[in-house]
């Protein structure tokens, strides 16, 4: 079962062409660091979200390579330039190869 769940993304509904808009993205994931031990002293296998990408209008606007020092339920805030109405694609992938995707829409005016 995948540990990745419940992607939450905040993107403005509309923006003016050329405007820089804010994006917030978060996903549920325990971000098991691999440094913790279970109750019999055995190391718990690492499983973190390795990568997160956001593409918009055919371009990558943000990509992150995560390490165990990113908090549980990784959260990112970043920006993009409003170019054309369309979809923003969000993609998270963890150590087990599981991934979760999310799509948000923005209307660009002017």
């Amino acid at each position: 079962m995948s540990w990745l769940a419940n992607p939450r993304v905040r993107v403005p509904e509309r923006a003016k062409r050329g405007e820089v808009f804010e994006i917030r993205a978060m996903v549920d994931h325990p971000m098991e660091s691999g440094f913790r031990l279970d109750n019999v002293g055995k190391p718990i296998t690492r499983n973190i979200v390795q990568s997160f990408t956001c593409t918009y209008d055919g371009h990558e606007v943000f990509r992150a390579v995560l390490h165990p020092a990113v908090s549980t339920n990784p959260y990112f805030l970043f920006y993009a330039v409003a170019s054309n109405s369309g979809e923003l694609h969000f993609d998270w992938t963890d150590d087990q190869g599981d991934s979760v995707k999310h799509v948000a829409r923005i209307e660009v005016e002017g």
Binding site: F21, E32, V65, H67, P68, A69, V70, F76, F78, S83
Partner: protein, 176 residues
């Protein structure tokens, strides 16, 4: 605080700060540790041209060498916003802002965060493009202990810029 005017890290005088104040001798171990810490602070914050690889523990130095080779890292352009005192090291909000027009010719290509006292020095690497529009990124990170957090930004012209911020942690980062 610049290296030249730093009273805690004199290059010519053999007298330590404690000796100057007549408190403790200059070869007192805690003071030496303090002097090292201050040297680290001066190294990462004060000097115009620094190689963070020199001022930080071995593992972080190795990682920095792997990532940036022998290219010089200059202090400046990067602003790292972290709470001075974080109660919970498992969730510490962080914001990095880089002074950049984010144009096709002149933009931030990547921003890297490092923690020298975490089990692994790398925290996160983020990659931006001119389509990002603004070189500002926020996230939440785990910090194992009170320490310096280092941010390095790589620009499209190949230059590297950095800043370091001291964070005090009350409860260590969970699982780190």
């Amino acid at each position: 605080m610049t290296a030249a005017s730093n009273p805690f890290f004199p290059s010519s005088s053999r007298r330590g700060p404690g000796a100057a104040r007549g408190v403790v001798s200059s070869n007192d171990p805690p003071l030496a540790a303090r002097r090292r810490a201050l040297a680290l602070l001066a190294g990462s914050l004060g000097l115009l041209l620094v190689r963070p690889a020199r001022a930080t523990p071995e593992e972080l130095a190795k990682v920095l060498r792997e990532l940036f080779g022998d290219n010089p890292v200059t202090t400046g352009k990067v602003k790292l916003e972290l709470p001075k005192l974080a109660e919970n090291g498992a969730v510490v909000p962080v914001t990095v802002v880089v002074d950049s027009p984010m144009s096709e010719q002149d933009h931030v290509k990547s921003v890297h965060l490092f923690a020298e006292k975490n089990p692994q020095p790398r925290i996160v690497d983020v990659y931006l493009t001119p389509y990002s529009g603004r070189a500002r990124v926020a996230s939440r990170i785990r910090i194992a202990d009170s320490q310096h957090i280092l941010a390095v930004a790589a620009l499209s012209d190949g230059s590297l810029w950095s800043t370091a911020v001291q964070v005090e942690i009350t409860v260590a980062g969970c699982g780190l």
